[in-house]
């Protein structure tokens, strides 16, 4: 038996993509295709008085021009949760952020469409913009008059005796944090091609929208279509990181336009400026006040976190990112009493959408900064404080006091000790002390996290009145082809994580076939198999579950056929090296090609992983697995310029059974890059008028390979008791840890220089200014 699990099989996707043979949305050119350009609002907040399109209509090549009123006549406002906090696909009556779509031009080319767009005249009546979320809370200016308030969601969750714990605390440690607005910014922007076939009453959509199957019923409703009249086809996708969930609003818009311009495909692809200012995919934008009740030994007995989240202008999906922290509220720590006060307000900025980590990443930053602050105030080592507060290994499965999260398994002390061993923490601290005497500002930062995932259950959101409930199954179909290949039919979209590779490995492992003999086929929505797609770190778990079931069934059929050919009982047989053989006598067997060609009927199996409903005692538990990660970062802050240099970066992870270490490492390194962006570079900045100031990649600073250090990765393995093969969902843990580890390291480096990295991103001029001010005192 050959094991394919745990091997770094080269990604099966790579050769085709690296050769330039990928086919992305904008590569698709359909006969008769028209192009759409969208006019965005120059105002953050204004009434639309009039939209004059005649001049645009007259531009050669322009087919039709649409305003918000045209869209209002044919559809409802964009669906949103909670309802009533959205606009139409083209703004009606009011615009609420710079770049909000106001009009759309359909033309023979994108050039002509943009020429037409230049000629649209919109008359606005400017309204005062609400930019500061603290000001939004006051409701002096209200964005959605029908709601009468800018507070879209506010709830305080209290679990355990928080009051009592704070009243009896030896010490209370407080912290204020700011988490800057950043986003996924995939290299390929979002878009779609929609074709309305008037004869068949069928809408075909080519799109890079993430979670396309999951979102397609919502899109169909928006377009006034029964679900089976919408067909979604997915080309290769150049990254998403959550950002392309929001592409659904473009599918809704272009779909509506396509119904008005029937039988011709309409293409719209965001340009970078549109993506940055109007993609509805900005991540969390938060202010935090946090406090910990601590005993004399550094044990945290209660945690209070108050979060004000700036959602931007609309809730086109739901404030889900603000409530997800409930599923991992105390991070890796056993804290008996927890309080989370979360308030989401609307402001005149681009709406939030999903961003990798889905909001728990910002929360974990606060928890991990707080742990370091506890250590600092008590004069303890940050590693020691963490070890003192970790959930002990014997407490798993661990149900959080929130009853909204359950961690399946883990050994956090072992993981952190492993990290400290690998990095030689004791030696590093000694070295740091020596270097500091020489005047070098070197700092060491540690951060840990759980990465809840492995599949999620919408029950959490249902319990909070934020959408419908329901577990999300995963379906696959497998078959043995007459030529001996194994065909795998999947329904997920591929944004680059390497799912096809993992699928290939699982099939090779169970059926004992060469990876070269396995073909992975992607399908349109509507065809089997159904899949949510990527999201919530679910693919390894969901695919292992689905393939586990399907391959078991396929294997039984293969052995049944082989038994007939070999005149043996299938129970005597096993699969080995492309053959079915007699157990213990591998020379007696028959190869898969022959089995397939002589079967007389297709050998295939389909399986739907049911995605267990995660009901807890009182609340849904929401996520199936909890991976864990610990980071240790060594930085140097340059005293003259405030610049931060990375000297070393160690990562230890425990994501249960690892299917492909290289795929896991790749996802982790990508999340490290995004974490460094969050910590030091990336931020959507708005001025007081609500104008986005970082409107291009010259000013919105995505870190490049030069800014992201190589990391030394290692792992321990605590298999999940709940999943096939013991796998756990992983890929985005570094979103939770990197910003905190970097901030902790910078703070450690500047321990006596008057700077704590509590507001991200940290700019060198801010570090310099703080050092200068401290030097003057």
């Amino acid at each position: 038996m050959k094991s394919y699990i745990g091997r770094s099989l080269p990604r099966v996707e790579d050769e085709r993509l690296l050769r330039g043979d990928g086919r992305y949305l904008d590569d698709i050119a359909l006969p008769g295709m028209l192009h759409v350009a969208v006019l965005g609002s120059p105002h953050a907040h204004a009434r639309i008085r009039a939209v004059a399109v005649e001049d645009a209509d007259a531009v050669p090549g322009v087919v039709r021009v649409f305003s918000g009123e045209d869209i209002r006549a044919i559809s409802e406002p964009l669906r949103g949760i909670p309802s009533g906090w959205t606009n139409h696909a083209l703004a009606v009556e009011r615009v609420r952020y710079v770049g909000e779509p106001v009009a759309a031009v359909v033309a023979e080319s994108r050039y002509a469409a943009e020429d037409g767009r230049d000629r649209i005249r919109v008359e606005y009546e400017a309204l005062p913009a609400v930019v500061d979320p603290a000001e939004a809370v006051t409701d002096h200016v209200v964005l959605h008059p029908a709601k009468g308030t800018n507070t879209l969601y506010h709830r305080r969750f209290t679990f355990g005796d928080v009051e009592g714990a704070f009243a009896s605390a030896e010490r209370i440690v407080r912290l204020e944090c700011r988490w800057g607005r950043a986003s996924g910014n995939p290299v390929e922007t979002g878009g779609c091609i929609c074709r309305w076939d008037s004869h068949d009453g069928l809408m075909t959509v080519w799109t890079n929208m993430q979670a396309a199957n999951f979102l397609s019923p919502m899109v169909a409703t928006q377009l006034g279509l029964p679900a089976d009249r919408l067909r979604i086809r997915r080309p290769d996708t150049g990254g998403s990181f959550g950002a392309k969930v929001a592409v659904w609003k473009y599918v809704a818009l272009v779909g509506l336009l396509a119904q008005q311009v029937p039988d011709r495909p309409l293409k719209f692809v965001e340009d970078r400026v549109e993506h940055l200012r109007a993609s509805s995919s900005h991540g969390p934008d938060r202010r935090y006040e946090a406090e910990a009740a601590v005993d004399a030994g550094g044990r945290v007995t209660a945690l209070r976190v108050k979060c004000l989240d700036d959602l931007g202008a609309y809730s086109e999906r739901r404030p889900g990112m603000a409530v997800k922290p409930l599923t991992g509220l105390s991070g890796c720590y056993e804290i008996p009493a927890l309080e989370y006060d979360v308030r989401c307000v609307v402001t005149n900025k681009c709406p939030q959408g999903a961003y990798r980590g889905f909001g728990i990443h910002a929360h974990n930053f606060v928890v991990e900064r707080l742990m370091d602050t506890v250590a600092g105030e008590l004069g303890l080592d940050p590693v020691a404080v963490r070890l003192r507060n970790f959930i002990p290994p014997e407490r798993f499965p661990y149900v959080l006091p929130t009853r909204l999260g359950r961690y399946d398994s883990g050994d956090y002390p072992k993981l952190l000790r492993h990290l400290c061993d690998v990095a030689d923490y004791a030696r590093l601290r000694a070295w740091q002390a020596e270097e500091r005497v020489k005047g070098r500002l070197v700092g060491i930062g540690v951060a840990t996290t759980v990465e809840i995932g492995g599949y999620f259950d919408n029950a959490l959101y249902a319990a909070l009145d934020l959408g419908p409930a329901g577990p999300i199954p995963e379906q696959v179909k497998v078959g043995l082809a007459a030529d001996g290949h194994v065909d795998v039919h999947v329904g997920y979209g591929s944004e680059g994580q390497g799912q096809d590779t993992v699928v290939t490995q699982l099939v090779a492992h169970v059926l004992q076939v060469d990876p070269e003999q396995i073909r992975v086929h992607h399908h349109d929505s509507g065809d089997v198999p159904n899949s949510f797609g990527t999201g919530g770190s679910r693919m390894a778990v969901a695919l292992a579950g689905a393939l586990g079931g399907a391959l078991a069934a396929l294997g039984r059929q293969i052995l049944d056929h082989a038994g007939r050919l070999l005149e043996r009982s299938p129970a005597e047989l096993e699969l080995d090296a492309q053959r079915a053989v007699v157990r213990g006598r591998p020379e007696i067997g028959v190869d898969l090609k022959r089995i397939a060609s002589q079967a007389g009927a297709p050998i295939e199996a389909q399986y739907t992983w049911p995605a267990p409903e995660l009901r807890g005692d009182e609340f849904p538990l929401s996520y199936l697995t909890a991976a864990c990660a610990a980071h240790l970062v060594v930085v140097e802050v340059l005293p003259t310029t405030g610049q931060v240099r990375f000297l070393d970066y160690h990562i230890a992870e425990d994501c249960g059974t690892v299917l492909n270490p290289q795929v896991v490492d790749g996802m982790t390194q990508g999340a490290v890059a995004q974490g460094i962006g969050q910590a030091l570079y990336e931020q959507y900045l708005y001025d007081d008028e609500g104008q986005l100031l970082t409107g291009s990649w010259m000013d919105y600073l995505v870190p490049t390979a030069c800014e992201v250090p190589a990391t030394k990765k290692s792992r321990i393995v605590t298999p999940s008791p709940y999943t096939a093969f013991g796998v756990k969902g992983t890929g985005e843990s570094a979103m939770n840890t990197t910003p905190a580890a970097v901030a902790n390291a910078i703070t450690d480096a500047l321990q006596d220089r008057g700077f704590a990295a509590n507001a991200l991103p940290v700019r060198p001029d801010a570090i310099w200014a703080a050092m200068r001010a401290a030097g003057r005192r």
Binding site: P42, A126, D688, Q691, T694, G695, M698
Partner: protein, 159 residues
């Protein structure tokens, strides 16, 4: 809309009433405003075309300039509304004139200009230095104009 604040001061070798009069002269404003192609006075409003540009980024804006003489000759407010291929701009600038000594008037200005369109979100680091530069150009030219007038006026006085 992106907001740029403009502020500064300039000294003119003329008495205040003269500076005031010249600042209300469309011909002079047209000569001093960078890129101004024409300017005509219609009632209390100046209508004109201004070519505003920097490097390859340029466009002709149709502008309406209005001067509200709050307290002639001490202070006035200038508002400007413009539309062009790159987007829109609108601004409001307060001017204060103070006599420093005979034939020496200090002009202080303070206000903001809001710029809309793509330039506002992608040209951010540029806008401030450009607006400062354009304001500086305007006042330099104004100073030249006024200085020329003052020497002419001085010549007259001698005669």
């Amino acid at each position: 809309m992106a907001r740029m604040t403009v502020s500064g001061e300039s000294l003119f070798p003329l008495e205040r009433q003269r500076v005031w009069a010249l600042l209300n002269d469309p011909a002079i404003l047209a000569r001093c405003a960078p890129g101004c192609e024409d300017l005509e006075k219609v009632g209390d409003t100046f209508n004109g075309r201004m070519k505003i540009g920097i490097g390859s980024i340029k466009g002709t804006y149709r502008c309406q300039v209005r001067i509200a003489p709050a307290q002639a000759p001490d202070a006035y407010t200038l508002t400007i509304v413009g539309k062009g291929p790159l987007g829109s701009l609108q601004g409001e600038v307060q001017f204060t004139l103070t006599s420093r000594e005979t034939n020496l008037t200090e002009l202080r200005y303070e206000g903001q200009v809001d710029v809309g369109g793509v330039i506002a979100s992608v040209g951010q680091p540029l806008l401030k230095s450009v607006s400062d530069y354009q304001a500086k150009q305007f006042f330099e030219r104004l100073n030249q104009e006024l200085t020329a007038r003052s020497s002419a006026a001085g010549g007259q006085a001698e005669r």
